[in-house]
Amino acid sequence: MLREILRRPEAWIGGGLLLILLLVAACAPLLAPGDPLAIVGRPLIRPFANADFPLGTDRLGRDLLAGLIHGARASAAVGLAAAAVAMLLGATVGSAAGFAGGWIDEAMMRVVEAFQIVPGFLLALAFVSALGPSLWTVVLAIALGAWTGPARLVRSRVLSLREADFVAAARVMGMRSGEIALRLVMPLALPPVLAISATIVAGAVLTEAALSFLGLGDPNAVTWGRMIAEGRNQLRSAAYLSMIPGAALALTVVAVYLLGEAVTEVLARKRRA
């Protein structure tokens, strides 16, 4: 299946871009050592004007390139962590509801719906405003608005798989229900969730940027959203301050969507076959 995915050009582009992002994020302390918020030069050096600061400096004289690199780290970390939390929570709730059935299923699905009717971003805003901004509250806040999709998906897969003939056969053979769930149903129920994980990551990166833009990100970390927000005050006089992190953000989201598109396409074809 991996080979099939990699045969698609959008997977190449998206995956390649993401690989670069992850590499940059992982190597941030090597690529830009020291505190990325340190004041290192004259304020407002334009991009490509000074070899020490290839992308220029912001209003306080902080290196934009260092900010971009460490911002990639924050974006990637928040995106992946939020998606992981959302999928873990969603898969747990969804499979529990699917296997249990009856009133437990009903109750759990009403809770899922309660979360779904509140726009995810509003939920995140409220959560961060109440608990105060830090990297972990931001991760939880984003996951809170994203876990319902995986939950519904896993539940529906479990519900249909549980009635499948091979499950019935296993039951007749005397397999215990726990074993059936873990060995037969889950491995087939989870792949579609992995397929939508890419869009969850992309959504999480965007939500994190939006929260930071509104001043609800961690004030002690550089993030792209915060860089865009800080640059906004100088939009007319130094547009590069917002445009450079903005472009990085747009590129990341496009990359994640391309990869997600490829995965979805391959999975859909497999299902048809």
Partner: protein
């Protein structure tokens, strides 16, 4: 085809709707209407209850104080009072009031209105008046044009006079008497004696004020309609000015970073005058309950770690001055440069921290602090970012805690959940009005912009109390000079920059910045050329 027509019809309806919510259309001669940017809509508009610049910006055009600040010697221009005189013992101040002044509803203005405002509003309800008029016992009104303020303790005339523009907005007794003053409908639809009459307020859109044809000063005001367009987005103010939709943006509504560009736009001018009596100071508030910050050497090290010149250049873009102490240098009366200064010196800061018993750890860090920058201004937030880095350079790890306005006030002024905070404190023409409260001990928790850092210095407290009852102006000034010296020596807080506002205005306006509180004065002399 029918689709097109219906769509056009729809557009017509939409345009009609837009027009009905937009500003009222009136045929006025050019120069008749002045549109001003307003960046906030205060919930409470009564300047006699809430003495703040956000309220004055609109309300001072309608409700007038007894006197206004002035660039002339003496610093005051008579408005509703024509003269004032203190008694020898400092227990009485006699005001002569202007004759022939009418309230906007046609009733005459008399000393009864002044007595009512002082005793029923300024003293019990007003944020500044509550402390300033704490010793006010009675206001006698021997005749309609005389009001005698009686104090239970000697009260310096200099202080009363300096405070007049801020604390003395006079309300009509016949409107407020016998009602619950804080809930009176006239707090929204103001009734005053000023050059402009309340028109209407459309929330989120505009305030409309009209010319008062019966204003007491002949030939004033010179503007027919004053409109405050609500533009909370600062970038929008600059764009609206360039488009000619508004003629004035005061209180730095145009971001500092845009000023250079805007100043080159033909027809617009950048004005930095007119805010001399409303100087803000960028101040680092210190929580003296913190075990590290208790040490004077630590506070001195922090003061030495701050590069004031960098702050002026990078954050204020030159539109500010270095602060030397708790009184801004542009104050003509009280300021003294003979104070303890803390030039930027990283080595010295490090040495002071070493001496205080905080050697740098393996990673260069000595200790950790919470830093809460006030969110009210871009400048306070940016200075918070700067201070974090400046402290990192000397080995103090400051962690920024970001809050919204309400959260920040609760954290700093009520819960004391901070180590360092960045505040925009205001100097209002006299240190006794809103400056000494920043360091005086015994201020109850929850009082915004007061000493909530738990700082206690009996010597400073005694000096503050002595100055409050010192009648001789010269002696008072000397006491406050000593106050500045003591504050800079012991650093209950650190004053970083004296910072003033800018206005951007159409160059057709005449009478801009005509007094040191211009943006919050009554604008009776403001003119717009055709």
């Amino acid at each position: 085809m029918s689709f097109l027509i219906s769509r056009r019809g729809l557009i017509g309806v939409a345009a009609g709707l837009l027009a009905s919510t937009a500003l009222p259309r009136l045929a006025l001669a050019a120069g008749g209407r002045l549109v001003v940017a307003a960046d906030s809509e205060p919930r409470q508009l009564n300047p006699a209850i809430v003495a703040s610049n956000g309220v004055f910006f609109i309300a001072s055009k309608i409700v007038e104080p007894l006197a206004e600040a002035s660039f002339e010697a003496g610093g005051l221009r008579p408005l509703l009072a024509t003269s004032w005189e203190g008694s020898e013992d400092g227990l009485a101040v006699t005001f002569r009031l202007r004759e022939g002044v009418l309230w906007h509803d046609g009733k005459p203005f008399t000393s009864a209105d002044v007595a009512f405002s002082a005793l029923e509003v300024w003293k019990p309800l007003q944020n500044i008046g509550r402390s300033l008029f704490a010793n006010l016992e009675d206001v006698e009104t021997p005749d309609d044009q005389t009001a005698v303020f009686r104090f239970s303790k000697p009260t310096p005339l200099q202080l009363v006079a300096n405070a007049l523009p801020v604390v003395s907005a006079v309300l009509p007794k016949h409107v407020y008497e016998g009602t619950e003053i804080a809930a009176n409908p006239a707090n929204a639809a103001l009734i005053g004696t000023g050059p402009f009459v309340w028109g209407e307020h459309k929330p989120g859109e505009y305030y409309l004020l009209r010319r008062n044809a019966a204003y007491w000063a002949p030939d004033q005001p010179k503007i027919d309609e004053l409109v405050y367009r609500v533009l909370p987005d600062r970038a929008a103010a600059a764009n609206s000015l360039e488009a000619g939709e508004i003629q004035l943006a005061a209180f730095s509504a145009v971001p500092l970073t845009d000023l250079e560009r805007v100043s080159e736009v033909p027809g617009l001018e950048v004005v930095t005058k007119g805010y001399e009596a409303l100087t803000y100071q960028l101040t680092v508030e210190i929580n003296h309950r913190n075990a590290h910050l208790k040490h004077l050497k630590v506070r001195q090290a922090i003061a030495h770690a701050i590069d004031r010149k960098f702050v002026l250049d990078a954050i204020f873009l030159g539109y500010a001055a270095e602060a030397t102490g708790p009184v801004p240098a542009n104050d003509p009366t009280f300021y003294t440069p003979e104070v303890e200064l803390y030039p930027h010196d990283v080595e010295k800061a490090r040495a002071l921290l070493d001496e205080a018993g905080y050697p740098a750890g393996a990673d260069g860090t000595r200790f950790k602090l919470r830093l809460l920058p006030a969110p009210y201004f871009n400048e306070t937030r940016q200075f918070g970012d700067y201070l974090r880095q400046a402290l990192a350079a000397v080995g103090i790890d400051a962690v920024i805690v970001a809050n919204d306005s309400a959260g920040h006030q609760k954290a700093v002024y009520t819960d004391h959940e901070f180590d360092l905070a960045v505040a925009p404190t205001v100097f209002r023409a006299d240190p006794a009005i809103s400056t000494t409260i920043l360091v005086r001990s015994g201020v109850p928790a929850g009082t915004p912009f007061s000493n909530q850092g738990g700082y206690e210095n009996p010597e400073l407290d005694a000096l503050i109390d002595e100055a409050l009852i010192t009648l001789d102006s010269g002696k008072r000034v000397d006491l406050y000079k000593r106050f500045q010296k003591l504050v800079t020596e012991d650093l209950p807080l650190i004053n970083v920059a004296d910072w003033s506002f800018t206005s951007v205005a159409s160059d057709r306006l005449r009478g801009l910045a005509s007094n040191p509180r211009w943006a919050v004065s009554n604008w009776a002399d403001l003119e717009q050329e055709a």
